[in-house]
Symmetry: D2
């Protein structure tokens, strides 16, 4: 039995690393509707530095942010998954993996959307 | 062409998430040879909470830590990959993925060691 | 006009640093009633490494944690201020500052409890 | 003996919180000379959300960053204090506190530059 990972499996591992990094690096950051845009840009640029990372798209859901702040005494909150939609594309040895984080029944869910062989 | 991920690919994605989470949650933590052991225990227990995570082993390299502090004026430093060896085992839909972080030429390198089908 | 900070003011600045560090280092950590105790211990030991920090006491409110998980599909959550009570004592040049974080109307509030001159 | 903190002491505590938050929220972020600017902007905007925070200026030392990467195999590194210069101004109850982080003998040092009574 050969248990060496395939290129596609390593590509998925790499994509997972990016997601865990992005989430746990930036969760907890003070964020308001006004500062959301600069944080989106910085999160994308930071994670795109990582190896094999081709593209990162971060959307902070400012509508949800504004709703959360409506009844609050503060004018900012902490970034968590319920304010985030993220797509990350990784390319490793000719395999392209598209991954996504979005809300599922109120919980942020990270998943692999597709794994493609770029040579096919 | 079917680009739906296999169970083994999703298992590798899940393992990557755990690694990125562990690293970016705890990198930067003030650490000394005396406090290293409590941090190892907390890192293991924290990440083992995550879905599909069967086992996490964290070793903080206290010898390296002590060397780094020898010529320093401070008695602690910040946790980074060069003081860490980590193994994480994930199980997802009958697939077991073993992953590891260790130093490679002075740089921390995360890799998939093996992907096994538990039904075989 | 002399705007040089007093020893007591520097002591308060140092105490603030410890609070900001503790909160933003560990917020977002996956935590469950079972893993809470190891995280408390690691947070205390990590921050006590910092200069002038004499004592750190962290309590993770496991009752609140359990309530938050009652209706959830997950068995863990992320550490935030609403699950935390913290006391930090800093000593700097003969001044002792006691600071505290506790819930105030549902929000975590950090405050200076007392500033003492140890020579008096 | 009255050990209630003065307004100036609370202002210094608040400034310390901002520094600890900024450092431990963003230390460990993947950064390159190309992505440094977006990270500076996001760090400033994030911390300026916090209460009583009037101004934050972050400079990532891209020269030092480039030097650190010269002999490296990677094209990015992790943000740490040795790549950072930061100034934070806090205003609380008519007291203005200016604080700074800069390198001192190779180590990042956070300090209170001045405490002013704005009514004088």
């Amino acid at each position: 039995m050969d248990d060496t990972p395939t290129d596609a499996e390593v590509a998925c591992f790499e994509a997972g690393i990016k997601f865990g990094s992005l989430y746990h690096q930036f969760a907890g950051t003070p964020v308001s509707p006004e500062s959301a845009s600069s944080l989106e840009t910085a999160m994308e640029a930071a994670i795109e530095n990582q190896p094999h990372c081709r593209d990162v798209t971060v959307e902070i859901l400012t509508d949800r942010l504004a709703s959360a702040l409506e009844d609050a005494t503060a004018e900012y909150t902490e970034l968590t998954g319920r304010f985030l939609e993220v797509e990350i594309t990784v390319e490793y040895e000719g395999r392209e993996v598209l991954t996504r984080m979005e809300l599922d029944d109120g919980y942020p869910l990270m998943s692999v959307v597709s794994v493609r062989d770029l040579d096919e």
